[in-house]
């Protein structure tokens, strides 16, 4: 908690470091399987989508994964733990080219590239998904949180299933 955090008082460099730290902490949580720590990266009324670039570019609303609240993110975590059947695997997020593309009314718009590597049993490490994050970040309860996170993937054909958040 940092109740003194005020976006309007940060220099561009400081803001960028704050956003990068948020993204890298996010990746750290996902890659280390700390899924209980994943929903708190979002505001309670967040929008999270994993959406095919093909749909995004053509204006089709369908997301491959759609969560319209922090509660829906927790439902995904519960399903991952208790409902779905899948092979064991490791994930590795590589996030780069982080750019602040706008700041308005306390909402920071940031864009970054991601590649997710997946390592399955009996196989080598492969690129699973590649794409970009379109994020809207706000200060909520004294910390930076995603109000909106779009994971727009270029990868036309998902290699089997997306069993885990991106």
């Amino acid at each position: 908690m940092n109740p003194g955090l005020d976006l309007s008082k940060l220099t561009p460099i400081e803001l960028r470091l704050q956003v990068e730290e948020l993204l890298y902490a996010y990746a750290d949580v996902l890659d280390n399987g700390l899924l209980d720590d994943w929903p708190p990266f979002f505001t309670s009324d967040c929008l999270y989508q994993i959406i095919a670039r093909e749909n995004y570019d053509r204006g089709f609303p369908l997301a491959t994964m759609l969560c319209e609240s922090q509660a829906m993110l927790r439902d995904r975590v519960t399903a991952y733990r208790q409902a779905n059947v899948y092979s064991p695997r490791y994930f590795r997020h590589l996030i780069s080219t982080v750019r602040i593309v706008g700041i308005e009314s306390g909402i920071v718009s940031a864009r970054s590239n991601f590649a997710v590597l997946q390592t399955l049993v009996d196989d080598k490490t492969r690129v699973f998904l590649a794409g970009r994050y379109e994020d809207c970040i706000v200060i909520d309860e004294g910390r930076l949180r995603f109000r909106q996170k779009l994971c727009i993937y270029d990868t036309l054909h998902v290699p089997n299933s997306i069993v885990h958040p991106v």
């Binding site: 319209e68 208790q82 409902a83 779905n84 054909h157 069993v163």
Partner: protein
Amino acid sequence: MISTAPDYRWPEAGSSRIPYWIYSDPAIYAREQERLFSGSSWNYIGFESEIPAPGDFKRTFVGERSVVAARDRDGHIHVFLNTCAHRGVQFCRHSHGNAKSFVCPYHQWVYDLKGNLVGVPFRKGVQGQGGMPEDFDLASHGLVKLKAETVNGAIFATFDQRMVPFRDYLGDSMYHYFTRVFDGRGIRVLGYARQIIPCNWKLMFENIKDPYHASLLHVFLVTFGLFRADQKSDVKLDPTGRHAVLVSRKGEQKATEGTAEMRSFKADYKLEDPRLLDPVKEFPDDATVVMQTLFPNVIVQQQSNTLATRQIIPRGPDRFELVWTYFAYTTDDEAMVRRRLRQANLMGPAGLVSVDDGEVLEFTQDGVKANPTMNGILEMGGRDRADTAHMVTEAAIRGFYDYYREVMGL
């Protein structure tokens, strides 16, 4: 001593056994391409509303063969092979678009929106030299054309020019279920999802003909009563066995005599945000889920309020592409569209239900490809393919293999 070479003889027990070589053998796979996908079958292509205007086109596949569906200036839909008549170039590389004509990039042969050859550069030679022979006839060198039929907004095509009408191909019962969803209302595409599932294409078809697994594998279906063996259900086949439909009615999240053997049933499992599962009744009958498999390449899905086609595109014996096209009706209000988009979380590459299938099908391929001379057992619900008013049966898979064996000569 284990033999690894298949002898291509089906087990004597018939369709209550499946020899595992059919899932990985290259010769069988090649025969399927020829006899099933390029044979006497209606293949799903897409929706009329995907190509609404003259010149609109969509690139897709029938089996492994790429085809283009295009709308001509008179509004008619044509489906032709995406392979230039000259040297075999797959000339169309865009998934969709609008074109006045199709030009092969290699030697710029030009085809119209019906697939007719209308131009060959240097046909008369250059400066009096070369050129095509005098008797070269454009009309006899068009693209390979498929016979196409549209049914309440859905497009199907076949390489067999003498194919029976789509309605006869489905039979009365299957046509009834097909037109239950495709009832003439306008189709609005909500988006696509594409995945590569590393298993033989037939395993996907079998999965949607197999209600037995649904009550055991899927926590979401069982726990929330979306599709469960103790509910009033039907399994129906067409007379040939190639098509089938699984029908069921939603149950409650409470333990019954039937749930005792379902390890996936979780009485205390709850969604924190229940908007994900907020279905409303929208069809005249009491069915809440109808999953239809139409031979050879499409599944029509109605689970609660999520509607989709799942097109199967084989990519070799060990993998296939599954293309999900989610849709709504043009008459839906925004609340209904939101509901369909939320419930789409159940299905697709990240589906709370279908992730289980993609994964288990991969496990199946890993098992069967290493053991081609072993056989699978299909005796749940007996050894025949009669329709049943319950889902504790593998009859629809047996029906599929009755037809498959006939066409494949196995």
